[in-house]
């Protein structure tokens, strides 16, 4: 079958037509030396992306039976998808076409019409060269499993499970401890803006236990996971019985939480276990159990200092929830007795929610707020520098420290298993901080709660729901998944098995065949980013739609 190439030059109304000589472009293309033996159909159209234009194109392709198609038009960002969809309605494989940008890259950047015209001809010629090296690519459909593995049985994990569970979607919730729940069970009260009382959170635990679409595994850890969105093979292991369970799921939600920094590890904070220095968490627990603040000897303190931002200097980030919960603790203490003198030492107040400032102001007449630039602790003696530069010392009966939230210790282990990045602090990294804050670079793995950074209860719950939103819209029971077509492939004959590509792949899309000693691309996960192509020392990897010959043909003409 000989090649028949369709070349259509779009005028884009006056956008292209007024800045280049359309006729000359078409003439010059017809005269190309290296295409004189090929069958070419060269036409122009006022506006290919219009309803008219698309129909015109569809008819032209059907009538002519093109083997290749080149469209000289606007930026691929604008209409590449439009024309791929037109091709899909015809017999022409959509990957046998190429759009050439003669608008943003020719017509719109030159004031000299002749210069723009010449460039346009060369660009189109380059595209014509390239398109001859393109091969048809076919989309495949994969069955997908709609079930979900949720790692972590705290507030966040429970919310993710409840929001995504359904008749056609089972949730497997695993928790490494004996019981579900987290530190919220040790709180005396929630903040007023958190809307309700603690029983609501406790109720969620019963809800998840009673939901017939959710299966709970306590004392259980993730042993291994292999696969991709819609097709993860997981193995769970019960720590106590050593029993393993094999499951198939379509998505994973990481909700393994975080930890609190140990203030005794900080050089500026020196105290012994029997000093009256407590973390805010210890104080909260004290209140929730006995509803009374006492010193270690059982007496009520006469003076208490609350210290913000402990350890923040080393961590390099704000833990977000502490300013608010310290106000809550100040409220607790004041309720207990308004004879207890309360001083709060802070550098900045972080009150990012709309209700926080008002809540803070409720306590300002009952607490002595001191803004500082530096503070250190020895026993219960605080040495500090105030904002105005004065040094000062205070030795209250009791010191309460708000320590930072730090990444969970098993994050690196999970990161490796799930092939997900951690950020420089050790928290899980989002796919995109702003646009895609609860996805990860591995399709099908989502993150929620403090595992991705300091967060309060409402935020963690919202993040868990956002994960459910992604799952409910990406993994629809019965719907097939169509993976990316323009992926990489490794030529087995040339591969030497050095595994450089494995390390470089950000998506975990390459695996190693031990028997053959070669690396292989999993086309269902590959996104076609091309990192592996660049890293391969032997040139055995290429991407299907951007092969070296294709790129070379395009570039050589442009540089002629």
């Amino acid at each position: 079958m000989s090649d028949k190439i369709g070349i259509y030059v779009c005028e884009c109304g006056p956008n292209i037509a007024s800045r280049v000589h359309i006729d000359k472009i078409m003439e010059d293309l017809a005269k190309l030396e290296d295409f004189k033996d090929k069958e070419l159909v060269i036409k122009n159209h006022k506006l290919l992306c219009s309803v008219d234009g698309k129909k015109f194109l569809e008819d032209e392709i059907n009538e002519n039976g093109f083997s290749h198609l080149v469209l000289a038009a606007c930026s691929p960002r604008d209409h590449d998808t439009t024309f791929i969809n037109v091709c899909k309605k015809t017999k022409l494989n959509p990957y046998m076409y190429r759009i050439i940008n003669i608008r943003e890259q020719c017509a719109w950047v030159y004031s000299d019409k002749d210069v723009a015209t010449e460039k346009a001809v060369r660009y189109i010629h380059a595209g014509m060269n390239r398109v001859l090296y393109q091969k048809p690519l076919n989309e495949t459909e994969l069955d997908s499993n709609p079930d979900v593995l949720v790692i972590g049985g705290g507030t966040t994990g429970i919310e993710a499970a409840l929001s995504s569970a359904g008749e056609n979607r089972k949730i497997f919730l695993i928790e490494k401890e004996e019981n579900l729940g987290d530190l919220t069970s040790k709180l005396k009260e929630l903040l007023p803006r958190q809307g309700s009382n603690l029983n609501v959170l406790k109720q969620r635990i019963s809800d998840v236990q009673n939901n017939k679409n959710i299966r709970i595994f306590t004392n259980t850890e993730l042993e291994s996971i292999v696969g991709f969105l819609g097709n993860f093979e997981i193995v769970l292991k019960n720590k106590k019985s050593d029993e393993t369970t094999e499951l198939l799921v379509g998505a994973v939600v990481m909700a393994n939480g975080a930890e609190l920094q140990n203030p005794q590890e900080l050089t500026d904070f020196n105290f012994q276990n029997d000093d009256n220095v407590f973390t805010a968490q210890e104080v909260e627990e004290m209140f929730s159990q006995s509803d009374k603040l006492t010193l270690r000897n059982g007496n009520e303190p006469k003076s208490v200092a609350l210290v913000h931002c402990v350890g923040r200097k080393d961590l390099g980030y704000c833990s977000k929830i502490c300013c608010n919960y310290l106000q809550k603790i100040a409220h607790y203490i004041n309720e207990q007795s308004n004879n207890i003198e309360i001083t709060e030492f802070y550098k900045h107040l972080c009150l990012p929610n709309k209700e926080d400032q008002e809540y803070h102001q409720k306590i300002t007449d009952k607490v002595n707020f001191v803004r500082i630039t530096d503070i250190s602790l020895c026993g219960t003696e605080l040495n500090l520098t105030k904002i105005n530069g004065e040094n000062s010392t205070l030795k209250p009966d009791m010191v309460i420290l708000a320590t930072g939230i730090i990444p969970a210790k098993d994050n690196p282990k999970f990161a490796k298993m799930l092939k997900v990045d951690l950020d420089e602090r050790g928290f899980f990294n989002e796919a995109h901080l702003k646009k895609d804050p609860i996805s990860t670079n591995t399709d099908g793995v989502f993150i929620a709660g403090t595992t991705k950074g300091p967060a309060g209860i409402s935020e963690s719950i919202l993040q868990a729901q956002a994960c459910a939103g992604k799952i409910l819209t990406q993994l629809i029971p019965g719907q097939k998944i169509i993976p990316e077509v323009m992926v990489s492939e490794i030529l087995e004959a040339y591969c030497r098995g050095c595994k450089t590509c494995l390390d470089v792949c950000g998506f975990g899309a390459i695996y190693f065949d031990e028997d053959k000693g070669v690396s292989i691309v999993n086309e269902a996960i590959c996104r076609g980013c091309g990192n592996c192509v660049g890293s391969c020392p032997s040139g055995s990897i290429r991407t299907k739609y951007f092969t070296n010959p294709q790129l070379y043909q395009e570039v050589k003409e442009a540089l002629r």
Partner: protein, 378 residues
């Protein structure tokens, strides 16, 4: 500091006796060692199973016919290897082995690596021309422990990593004695199996080696100043590689160039006639075959981060281009950029495998600085 074990006898005999014992008592199932070829003008690597053949082996050879790492690779790349083998090689061959381990071409699970204090190797062509004379010369260097002879290959003359390395065990030479040193757990296991008790102090030996290394480092720096003029800039490269006949021998013998089909031999790197004509049009004329310098700079880009300066490339060049010195110089620069030294430690990750987002920022700064510098100089 480690202590060593004294072995009885002069160098050749004591090493062969040692390996014979290891084969007798099943410490090892086989030993990889060089042996002279029948024509007596070269050596080959033999995997020796029968201990009786060992008497004909030559543990310390005057030349490097192939890089031992390549020989080892042939054995270990595929297959589970349930047999314990010992491999005795020069320090640069050990370094090449370490790099090949990182590139997944060699598995060391059942291999115990041995190295020795290396006086260097003689240029292949010199040896082949007069094998007996050169053989005698080499014996003298070895006996008199001369580490800086100008009879050895140019890269050997500037090599400061000629002694202990990332092997499991090392034969140290001191005052005519052979002292075996263990460098690793695997080495310790061998020592135990052989029922040795390390009791020789190594301080004097180490000091001697350090002093020699310092001298060689100075030599290296001086030599690189000269090599720089041959290697930097397209014009210099063109002149240096003017004699190159595109035989690609250098890449064939290089232990790091292990690709099944070299990129530069593949169709991708061979453009068709209209491209060639286009280039001829642009420049007035082109040399055929194309891309001679591209091959060398491309090879530098592909392997210089792992180059161990073994010098085989110069040995293999039929037109005597000092390839090894040039590549050794370039490698020293590229490795420095990434804070990496090839062959030191199997645990160091290859720079290509450790992509850090910030890295590119540093390189960008370096490029900017270099550009500013250049414009200053102009």
């Amino acid at each position: 500091m480690n202590k060593g074990i004294k072995l009885e006898g002069e160098i050749r005999k004591s090493i062969l006796d040692f390996f014979e014992k290891t084969l007798s008592n099943n410490t090892f199932d086989a030993v990889l060692m060089p042996m002279m070829v029948p024509s007596e003008d070269s050596y080959a690597w033999i995997l020796v199973k029968d201990k009786n053949l060992l008497k004909d082996a030559e543990p310390i050879v005057p030349i490097m016919p192939i890089n031992a790492a390549k020989a080892l690779k042939r054995y270990t790349r595929i297959g589970d290897g349930k047999f314990k083998i010992a491999a005795l090689m020069k320090p640069c061959e050990i370094r090449a082995t370490i790099e090949l381990v990182k590139l997944n071409q060699i598995k060391l699970d059942d291999v115990t690596l041995f190295s020795y204090d290396c006086v260097g190797a003689l240029p292949m062509q010199d040896f082949i021309a007069e094998p007996q004379k050169k053989g005698t010369l080499f014996d003298k260097l070895l006996k008199e422990q001369i580490y800086n002879s100008d009879e050895t290959k140019p890269v050997c003359q500037i090599c400061d990593k000629f002694s202990n390395c990332a092997s499991d065990l090392h034969f140290a030479f001191e005052n005519g004695n052979v002292v075996l040193i263990s460098n690793s757990e695997k080495g310790d296991k061998t020592v135990t199996k052989m029922k040795f008790s390390p009791n020789i102090d190594l301080k004097n030996w180490q000091n001697n080696i350090d002093a020699l290394a310092t001298d060689k480092k100075k030599n290296r720096a001086e030599t690189f100043e000269l090599v720089k003029k041959m290697a930097e800039g397209f014009d210099n490269l063109s002149e240096t590689f003017a004699l190159c006949i595109n035989c690609h021998n250098c890449s064939s013998v290089c232990p790091i160039c292990y690709c099944r089909k070299c990129y530069f031999d593949s169709a991708v790197a061979k453009p068709n006639s209209d491209v060639k004509m286009m280039r001829a049009k642009q420049r007035g004329g082109i040399a055929l075959p194309l891309d001679k310098i591209m091959f060398h700079t491309g090879r530098m880009a592909h392997m210089s981060l792992s180059c161990v300066s073994c010098g085989l490339c110069s040995d293999a060049c039929p037109v005597n281009i000092p390839v090894a010195q040039i590549f050794s110089y370039v490698a020293s620069q590229t490795q420095k950029t990434f804070d990496y030294v090839a062959g030191e430690n199997a645990g160091d990750a290859l720079p290509m495998k450790e992509y850090k987002l910030d890295e590119m920022g540093e390189l960008g700064e370096m490029v900017k600085k270099a550009e500013v510098q250049e414009s200053h100089n102009e």
